[in-house]
Amino acid sequence: MRRLLSRLATSPQGIMLATGIVLAVLFSVANPVFLSAPNIVDLLRNAIVTGIFAIGVLIVLASGGIDVSFTAIGAFALYATTKLLIVSGIHPPMLAIFAIGIAIGVALGFVNGLLIGLLGLPTLIVTLATLSLFRGALLTFVGTLYYGTIPAEMVAYSRQPLLAFHLASGRVVQLPLAFGNFVLVAGFAALILGSTMFGRKIYALGGSEEAAARIGIDVRRVKLAIFMLVGGIAGLAGVTHVTLMRIANPFDLVGSELNVIAAVVLGGARITGGHGTVSGTIIGVLVITMINSSLLLIGVPTYWQRLVVGGLILFGTGLPIAIERFNLHRARLRAAAGPTVTVQAPV
């Protein structure tokens, strides 16, 4: 038990979880409403799109790359899918609508994958370029008009709750069905990263691309597959966003990249690759969402909110690193005291 606790306390997820709990306690002291059921349900709802995007970013980070184009892919998928349905007048079931969005995402991810995998260009440069390229193509060739009235299937879907209850005050509290998308994507990613050869290859690539190539991994194909997968996830996030906001706005999503990447890094993934877990990412997403959507509740004045968000992110990412340094330092001291102790750097 003690060993389990100490392992938890030294893992990035564990430290992030502890930080999240400390913040939650502070917030609920400031305003007890924070811990009320409606607020927690709202928090989960607000985490859906960030969460789905974050799972995609986690996969890229684990493979040693970085992706900043995913919001443009999401925006493209959300707008192109909705426009296709409205212009053509077809009424496919919701599952097919999601499939269209995912297909658009996979196709755009394929472009990223070709440039990165086959041409071997750096991920940051390529995705910075395609962020602008995909968005520009969307606004130039697909359209710039808002659709305030979205297809009936999407509205019907968005009204279906996964969980709903009424409060005495007459307020309705509901978690939309779309939360299931986040759960499914997270489960799917956990399965791939944890239990498949493809998952092992992703981490191997992130650890050392050279070494991965030498043990016989086809690096180019794995990279192509990663970016197609991540594109599909971004496409799903985009269509999910439409159903949540009930408006197809081609200017949405782009601009939230850093918020999502911050959530994934908070959750223990490293920009340098090879590390990161789905559970950690979920914790990171929840903490970021909590920080972004509770400051008004606890009475932080509007002018202070960005300052506080920045400070808390710095605190959240800095603390795990500080604790890791401290542990490493203690291990070194112990090693110096007695040569019989074997040193194992915490992962």
Binding site: N31, V33, S36, P38, N39, D42, N46, V49, G136, L139, T140, G143, T144, L145, Y146, G148, T149, H166, S169, G170, R171, V172, V173, Q174, H241, M245, R246, I247, N249, D252, G255, N292, S293, S294, L296, L297, G299, P301, T302, Y303, Q305
Partner: protein, 330 residues
């Protein structure tokens, strides 16, 4: 195209025939007037283009509209440069960044081109600037709408797109001042909320407001997506009958919530009418006529404009409610 060619041909013929008698021909000369908007293809500026087209049809002037593919100040400057090179008679402009446009607009004025601005009351290098309304008067009007929706009592909250957005803050400050002055039973809760012009943020903050202030009865939005985000949050919480939303928006964005009744009224100005007046002012300037305080431009809201320096201001706000929603297509 053929109309354009005809207009051009007529202009050319007149120019050839005219020679020294230019003054007597001022009445019939066709001018080329180009409107440069912030960005092409969005609903707002498509509507503005309808006003430009109507003006061209009504007057026979060669009035057209152009705009960059993205709301980019540099691209807009480039378009103005091109128009100067083409020697158009007048440029009317809705600037993305008024400050960064001054040099190129000065160049236009130096080339004897008439320049009329819109949404740029602090522009210096313009012949005239046309504003749909005074921001403070508009803000007070929004508060009147909110007060009416709330029965002149209860708690309300306000949104601005960015705390640094000058016009949004002018609207909201004037609205709050109006409430303190005229509606003592209403009370502002929390300070100005910042939506970052993002509907998702407006949604999230509205949910928080509903948690923190369960008695909230009204919300006023500033950015066009504020009211849509706020109304969706209110409806998701099942509080559509308790909380009333008003603000600045467009029928194409707020439509579904106006129909459902959560948004009681949205206000805006009609870009088509503004463009019509802007072009009319341009022609007056080309003909050497002066705009005067109290003049009537024959468009709704511009019947009695005020003139301060070179800024022409109307009272051209439009309210859209359930009753007239179907009459708007932008």
């Amino acid at each position: 195209m053929t109309i354009k060619h005809k207009v051009f041909a007529v202009g050319l013929a007149l120019a050839l025939a005219g020679g020294g008698a230019a003054v007597t021909q001022a009445q019939t000369k066709k001018y080329t007037i180009t409107t440069v908007v912030k960005i092409a293809g969005v609903a707002w500026f498509n509507r503005m283009e309808q006003g430009v087209a109507l003006f061209a049809k009504d007057t026979g002037q060669n009035a057209t509209q152009v705009g960059p593919a993205s709301a980019d100040a540099a691209l807009q400057n480039q378009i103005v440069e091109d128009l100067i090179a083409k020697k158009v008679d007048a440029i009317t402009v809705v600037p993305n960044s008024p400050e960064s446009m001054e040099p190129v607009l000065k160049k236009a004025l130096d080339s004897k081109i008439v320049v009329v601005g819109h949404e740029g009351s602090n522009l210096e290098n313009v012949t005239y600037d046309v504003e749909a309304f005074d921001n403070a008067a508009f803000g007070a009007h929004l508060m009147d709408n909110l007060a009416k929706a709330m029965g002149e009592e209860g708690e309300y909250a306000v949104f601005v797109g960015h705390l640094t957005a000058k016009t949004h803050n002018q609207w909201v400050d004037a609205a709050i001042a109006r409430q303190k002055d005229k509606y003592p039973k209403m009370k502002l809760v929390a300070d100005k909320q910042e939506s970052l012009e993002d509907q998702q943020v407006a949604y999230t903050k509205t949910k928080e407001l509903l948690q923190a202030h369960p008695n909230l009865k009204g919300i006023q939005g500033s950015a066009s997506t504020d009211v849509a985000g706020a109304a969706l949050a209110v409806e998701d919480a099942g509080l559509g009958s308790q909380v009333n939303v008003v603000g600045t928006s467009l029928p194409s964005i707020a439509g579904p919530y106006i129909t459902s009744g959560t948004i009681k009224a949205i206000s805006f100005w009609d870009p088509a009418k503004a463009a019509y007046v802007v072009d009319k002012v341009a022609v007056m300037a080309l003909e050497g006529k002066k705009v005067e305080d109290g003049m009537n431009f024959g468009q709704e809201g511009y019947e009695k404009v005020t003139l301060k320096g070179h800024v022409i201001t109307g009272q051209a706000w439009v309210d859209c409610t359930k009753d007239n929603l179907s009459t708007f297509n932008f």
